[in-house]
């Protein structure tokens, strides 16, 4: 069992954690939840809200479909020869997943860390940055991971 010990991963020693990776993860709580008192002014946060709404839209766009089609082709090539024997396939995919999970883990952490700095930086310039198609990162990382392993 490979439960990674990165600090933003589900903790194995206890539920406490405080890291910058964690901060990015709970940005929406700090910015969008919490008590609002209407007689108090709130600083302008133009840009930050956009980031999350757009990221959500990406999830069901043509871009997403094309990405899945591409992933489909990629993984089907790997799988040829294994498919058609369901009992073996189940075992194979389980083994495969362990390696991949590790890859996805560190990959996601990197992009979270980067994302906070990058986004707030460009907001400083007053720009409304386009969200990146971040969901791709996991796929790319794990295929690299796979080649290494």
């Amino acid at each position: 069992m490979t439960v990674a010990t990165t600090e933003s991963q589900l903790p194995s020693g206890g539920p406490h954690q405080k890291t910058d990776g964690g901060l990015y993860d709970i940005l929406d709580l700090i910015l969008d939840r919490g008590l609002v008192i209407d007689v108090f002014v709130r600083v302008s946060l133009v840009g930050i809200e956009l980031l999350r709404v757009d990221a959500r839209v990406v999830v069901a766009s043509v871009d997403t479909y094309l990405r899945f089609a591409e992933a489909c082709n990629r993984t089907d090539l790997e799988n040829k020869g294994g498919v058609g024997l369901p009992e073996l396939v189940g075992e194979m995919s389980e083994q495969g997943a362990h390696g991949k999970t590790k890859g996805a883990l560190s990959g996601a952490l990197d992009s979270f860390g980067d994302a906070l700095g990058r986004r707030s930086g460009s907001r400083e310039d007053g720009g409304e940055e386009q969200p990146e198609a971040e969901p791709r990162r996991i796929g790319r990382r794990s295929s690299r991971q796979k080649e290494e392993s």
């Binding site: 589900l10 940005l27 600083v43 930050i48 089609a69 489909c72 993984t75 971040e134 794990s142």
Partner: protein, 238 residues
Amino acid sequence: MTVYVYAMVGPDHPAKLDGLTGVGATPTPLRTVRGERAVAVVGDAPKDLRAKRRDLNAHQEVLAKLSEQGTVLPLRFGALAGSEEEVAGNLRDRAEAYQRQLAAVNGKAEYNLRAAQDEDTVVRQVLQVNPEVRRLARSGVATSGDLKDRIALGEAVHADVAERQRRITDEVVGALDVFAADRRQGEAVAEDFLNVSFLVDRSRGGEFAAEARRLSERLEADGVRLRLHGPLPPYSFV
């Protein structure tokens, strides 16, 4: 003078502010504005307040420390009051509401759970069990097919993936609900398909985290990665 407002706490909250500094490039000590039924934790409002790492972190740090000492009503980042007198007036006007809200989250903390799934792992699963997807993939659609065909393939994969993730969500949320007093589902962000917050009594935090860990291990083979954050101030439940 403008003040930045971090939180409301009960009159019996220790509100130990020694060593706590707040937002801004040169953070200054925090102070309280006391009302009869609620106390506000405030600090100087910096001129350059921004929703950036430094200040978001400072806001969260202050709330985390206050939360360790007792029950808090965390304010959303960036609340500014015209003066301490204005805060004091608000504490009088809203005394009963704050008392009620403090009671609702008394002794409880927020746990936020997010889940992402490795794309190759889930696509491989779909290919194994979905004959239509396999047929489309094998027909060469993904490489040489025209745009419409590729979109159709991707849409079929996406539908299957979404259904799998919906089932995982149901399993995870169902298992953790047992330990929670309240729950609030958030919007999926970027690659996460699940973003949900639970309000958990602090006495049950250990059980809750243990169950989350069990789920994390169980779902690992599906390429699912769970990330738990908590105990946090109850941002989602005030």
